[in-house]
């Protein structure tokens, strides 16, 4: 069980790192371009919101999986 948790914790770190790297690609910050918009939100804003919320979700997952989470 601990082995799986450790493996998943590393996966969470990789996912967080991937989200951060994606942030600096044209996928999130295409220079001088704000389409496609979602509900009017420009591209960098809605993708940026997805990234920042994604990082908080990964923080919550990481908090559960981290090896210290069950220790006092």
């Amino acid at each position: 069980m601990q082995g799986i948790k450790k493996y998943l914790w590393y996966l969470t770190i990789i996912a967080a790192a991937a989200l951060i790297v994606i942030t600096f690609t044209p996928l999130v910050i295409p220079f001088g371009k704000h389409t496609p918009a979602v509900f009017g939100f420009p591209r960098t804003l809605w993708t940026g919101i997805l990234i920042s919320v994604g990082l908080v979700v990964l923080t919550a997952i990481g908090a559960i999986l981290h090896r210290g989470s069950n220790r006092e």
């Binding site: 960098t44 940026g48 919101i49 923080t59 908090a63």
Partner: protein
């Protein structure tokens, strides 16, 4: 509006007095005063952490940042804060583990014992002093200018600054860290409430998000994409900003202390999640405020724009709440930073408890006065000055990581290199040397250099246990 301001001011000050006196009763030892008994739960922990992290820089600086530089401001702060909270899960565990091995009195003393020399502690203290005092000062100045613009006949800018510093010092000196934490929680709630009420009023003016973005596109389409109208948000600026912002809980003592004084790791992790949610909730309304300004007040000065959006375009009761919210935002960050500097000062001195506590209290007053003086002299660029503060303290991160993660005593090389990099960075800020080298920003370059250097020094250092 005036009657609402008087009413809210009385309520606000009354609550600060109540919190200070209530906390004072619970202070039984220096540890209670300095570390709030080291028994903080997740709810209080996340509110105090969030209120300390988000200051006037959020309520005044970020709307202006969106107004002038556009959507990249979201990546600049919200994504960086997402990385920051994720880092707390990992770093919080190792920091608390390290602290549990040795008695904790501050990061300065932790560094001294980990490196086996005094230099590390002094370099850290010098770094946080140099870069935190201006950060505290710009917040006090930001609010003072705003209050002076609103009530020009009442007090000069320095008078407002003095009043803020005196209030902050009184409740910090009386109740210690616990009083600051309770005050922070209350101030954080005010900040969040005020910013959402104002944002909703601004959104109503546009009649919805789609109309707002359409109006911004018509006014200045460059605000909807990066690098923004002024070309600020290039990849290098955003990457460097992410690094220096996510390192804030590692390098700035007011936040490091909050990680250490949490009841246990589970509460620390819950606190990190709470801060992440709070960050998104508090940054999002600043987008609306900023774009409202971009459409209605594109050419106004920062102070005029802030005064209009927060006060003159709002109903009296909301404007009064905004004023209290701004003061609360400035106080909640400044008090923690000044107190943390006092804590770090305490960790560098020794002697009988009473003498040490007296010196610490005097040091806190001295730091408050230093911030006051700087607030009267500093410039008005809130966000950029805050970023400089983050970049300066970020240079301390490799030294702290080495202390926390390495079991080796690597001697004075890393602290000395850190000091040299601080001097180089300050020289570049003062324009004595270029702020870029090989087209790379100086802050990014120095941080990368220190990271690699610390790794190499650590690799070739002797093991602490072998040495013993």
């Amino acid at each position: 509006m005036t009657k609402w301001i008087i009413l809210f001011s009385i309520l606000y000050l009354g609550l600060l007095v109540y919190i200070s006196l209530r906390s004072k009763k619970k202070v039984k030892s220096p540890v209670d005063y300095i570390f709030a008994g080291s028994n903080i739960g997740s709810a209080l922990g996340f509110m105090t952490f969030a209120a300390t992290l988000f200051s006037t820089f959020t309520l005044m600086g970020m709307p202006d940042f969106f107004r002038i530089n556009g959507v990249g401001a979201w990546i600049f702060l919200a994504v960086s804060d997402g990385a920051l909270v994720f880092l707390i899960v990992w770093f919080g565990f190792h920091l608390r583990k390290k602290v549990s091995e040795k008695e904790f009195s501050g990061i300065s003393s932790l560094l001294q014992s980990s490196f086996g020399n005094k230099i590390a502690g002094y370099v850290y203290f010098a770094g946080v002093f140099i870069f935190l005092i201006p950060y505290v000062a710009i917040q006090i100045r930001g609010v003072s200018i705003f209050l002076h613009a609103t009530f020009p006949a009442f007090l000069p800018v320095w008078g407002w600054a003095l009043a803020i510093v005196v209030i902050m010092l009184i409740y910090s000196e009386i109740g210690g860290l616990k009083a600051i934490m309770y005050a922070d929680s209350f101030q954080g709630l005010i900040l969040l409430t005020v910013i959402w009420i104002i944002a909703m009023n601004c959104l109503r003016w546009f009649d919805g998000f789609e109309n707002m973005f359409a109006a911004v596109e018509k006014a200045n389409a460059a605000l909807l994409s990066v690098p923004g109208p002024e070309g600020l948000f290039n990849v290098q600026f955003l990457v460097a900003s992410l690094l220096v912002i996510m390192l804030i809980p590692v390098t700035q003592p007011q936040l490091t202390t909050r990680i250490v004084v949490m009841k246990n790791l589970k509460e620390t992790h819950k606190m990190a999640i709470g801060v992440g949610i709070f960050a998104n909730l508090i940054i999002f309304p600043t987008v609306i405020l900023g774009y409202y300004g971009a459409v209605r007040y594109p050419t106004e000065s920062t102070a005029d724009f802030i005064a209009k959006v927060l006060l003159f375009d709002q109903p009296g009761i909301v404007a009064a709440l905004a004023i209290i919210g701004l003061v609360a935002a400035a106080l909640s960050t400044s008090d923690s930073q000044i107190f943390a500097l006092g804590t770090e000062f305490r960790s560098l001195i020794s002697g009988p408890d009473r003498k040490v506590m007296l010196r610490t209290r005097l040091a806190i007053i001295f730091f408050g006065i230093a911030a006051l003086v700087f607030s009267i002299l500093s410039s008005d660029e809130l966000v950029m000055l805050a970023r400089v503060s983050f970049a300066g303290t970020a240079l301390l991160a490799p030294m702290i990581f080495t202390a926390v993660f390495s079991g080796k005593r690597s001697g004075p090389m890393i602290p000395v290199a850190t000091f040299a990099c601080l001097v180089i960075f300050i020289s570049s800020l003062l324009g004595w040397i270029p702020d870029q080298l090989f087209h790379i920003r100086m802050d990014l370059l120095l941080l990368l250099f220190l990271g690699v250097f610390s790794l190499l020094v650590n690799l070739f250092s002797r093991n602490e246990t072998n040495e013993k």
